[in-house]
Amino acid sequence: MAVNSVPSPSTGRRPVSWGTPLTYALALAVAAVSIAPVIYVVIGGFRTTRQIVANPAGLPDPFVFDNYVRVLTQSNFWRQAFNSAVISLGTTLAVVVLGLAAAFVLARYSFRGREGLYTFFTLGLLFPAGAAILPLYLMLRDLSLINSYYAVILPQVAFSLPLTIVILRPFLSAIPRELEDAAAIDGASRLGFLWRIAMPLSRPALVTVGVLAFVASWNSFLLPLLVLSDVNLHTLPLGVQNFSSQYSTDTAGVLAFTSLAMLPALLFFTLAEKQIVGGLQGAVKG
């Protein structure tokens, strides 16, 4: 296979060209495998269960909107979306604030034990959240936090902190000393420097860790499964699972509920794709 275009020395930048047909064929095949099941679920929501049973792989004939309407009006969908939003936003906010404060100290203050403290946090990368779930449940029970938003938020914040600090610290370290000196001459304290200069400058990194924490929290299942037995506090992943086992004969309804539950994550990802990829890029570089 030939290189599509040799760069012309004068421009130095390759023009975006049309790829070869083979490139498109492969890319299309990959994309189809990735999203065909998702499209099937969304379209399946527009059929009746009877249609689906008669021909599982068919198209809607006729289109019915009843499933989506039913899920949106009669189920706990909105309640669960609200709970998911509260928990994810709470987690994200706390992770970003606490992570930034700790990473700022680890990046810009020099004191004895600094590297020790950093290693102490990075150790958390080796503590899988899944393994700690049973003792975590027992502890939250003893603290009377079961069936509260905190039961999900606090552990999620704790387990997100190590990665957050690992990503934020290099960003904060990279801010030139001169900026800090200039701020000091203008009368800013170190905290003023954090608030007025370091925070705005590290906004891309903050968005990245925020997006990562939000997505992880929005999709989380095991922790809410154990600590949120109260149906009114259920999040969307719990809702999807409950709906699918409660109405297992209503295949079309389950498909509709599942596609509606996918929608927020897809929208969010489309908007934040650059940050997610950019953030992982930073993490890969170290």
């Binding site: 040799v6 390759r14 060209s17 049309w18 790829g19 490139t23 890319a27 299309l28 990959v30 994309a31 999203i35 998702v38 679920v41 021909n55 792989a57 606490l98 404060a101 700790a102 680890l106 810009r108 203050y109 020099s110 946090f121 990075t122 990368l125 080796l126 899988p128 899944g130 393994a131 700690a132 049973l134 003792p135 975590l136 502890m139 606090l154 704790a158 387990f159 902190l161 600090i165 290099p170 370290s173 800090e180 009368g187 170190r190 997505v215 299942f221 095991l222 154990l226 992943p237 999807v240 699972q241 699918s244 599942t258 996918m262 994550a265 897809l266 992982l280 890029q281 570089k285 170290g286």
Partner: protein
């Protein structure tokens, strides 16, 4: 290293602190400044340290303690049994099945997702119109919640469901299987679904790594007459080493803990026979739902030790140079 990030007084004493002209005043001002610095250090780090210690480190400590008891979770544990819960676990064929399944998922993910992801990432790293859209579509499975994806595939793979209907309509009726009910097949079905879900993650990482490969290198190779494939083989892929190792690490840790997808996709009866159990589902089934808290915590400790040792070995032998300063501290 330390001095580079050090907080110093600006040169020339033009600081905001009210230092007097005489030496004694300056010294006391410096002491006040040092004290203030420590207040800030403690004030800014304490919330993170407290939450981290309380919800990450302390629970694992308690798990070790609880695992030494036979305990139904009511009142304080009293019936000390030593290491019996651990020996019981390793004598339970279901747990050994779970271990085997975790091993299948760890190695299956690495061996199947790695080459696929590398191929797709190299493809999507080529410059062509519409590339951004293709990238977005390929990431879709990774973004969706494991639970949602699990329910979706459960519906698709159910007996006489969509996948079977599709196979029949394509004249491949002979391939129809009891995907999720066949005890010998179910773990491979789940591995396939996991591959579909997580290959996008490997692709994101690899594309991020590819964007760090300087254009000058590939362009120089192109000018020297190297074909596209030669450039990938001899320039690009070798430079991806660190990214590939980090992906392997994350994939391995994730595979050892895998829970959500297995839990919602596989039928409980199949899981309880061990055919589709993993360490995490086994732990939750026994510890939380069967209320064998002491036993469940022992399984938690086993899961933790296996993940921890695997992570440390990986760090020690493969990752050392890739994550600067993280975990090993001195890697540079």
């Amino acid at each position: 290293m330390t001095s580079a990030n050090q907080i110093r007084m600006p040169a020339g004493g033009a600081s905001a602190s009210p230092a007097g002209p005489d030496g004694a005043g300056r010294a006391s001002a410096r002491r006040a400044e040092t004290r203030r610095k420590w207040y800030e250090i403690i004030g800014l780090t304490t919330p993170a340290v407290v939450i981290y210690v309380m919800f990450v480190l302390v629970p694992m400590g308690f798990a070790v303690y609880y695992s030494l008891f036979r305990w139904r979770g009511v009142g304080p544990p009293t019936e000390f049994v030593g290491l019996r819960n651990y020996t019981l676990a390793f004598q339970d064929p279901i747990f050994l099945d779970a271990l085997r399944n975790n091993a299948i998922i760890v190695f299956g993910s690495l061996l199947i997702q790695g080459p696929i992801a590398l191929g797709i990432a190299l493809l999507l790293n080529r410059r062509f119109r519409g590339r951004a859209v293709f990238r977005l579509l390929v990431f879709v499975p990774y973004v969706l919640a494991e639970v949602t994806v699990g329910i979706m595939w459960k519906l698709l793979l159910t007996g006489n469901g969509t996948v079977d209907a599709l196979l029949r309509s394509l004249g491949m009726g002979g391939l129809v299987h009891a995907w999720l009910a066949d005890l010998d097949l179910v773990i491979w079905t789940l591995l396939a679904v996991l591959t579909w879900k997580y290959v996008g993650f490997a692709i994101i990482l690899l594309l991020a790594g590819l964007s760090n490969v300087p254009d000058e290198l590939t362009e120089a190779a192109a000018i020297d007459g190297a074909s596209w494939w030669q450039i990938q083989r001899h320039v690009t892929i070798p430079l991806l080493g660190p990214t590939i190792r980090i992906w392997m690490f994350l994939s391995m840790i994730g595979s050892l803990q895998i829970f959500d997808m297995i839990w919602v996709t596989s039928v409980p009866a199949v899981r309880s026979l061990g055919a589709s159990a993993t360490m995490a589902t086994y732990m939750v089934d026994n510890g939380f739902f069967a209320r064998l808290w002491g036993y469940g915590n022992a399984v938690a400790v086993i899961l933790f030790v296996i993940s921890f040792v695997a992570a440390l070995l990986f760090q020690r032998f493969l990752l050392r140079r890739d994550i600067q300063g993280a975990i090993t501290g001195r890697a540079k």
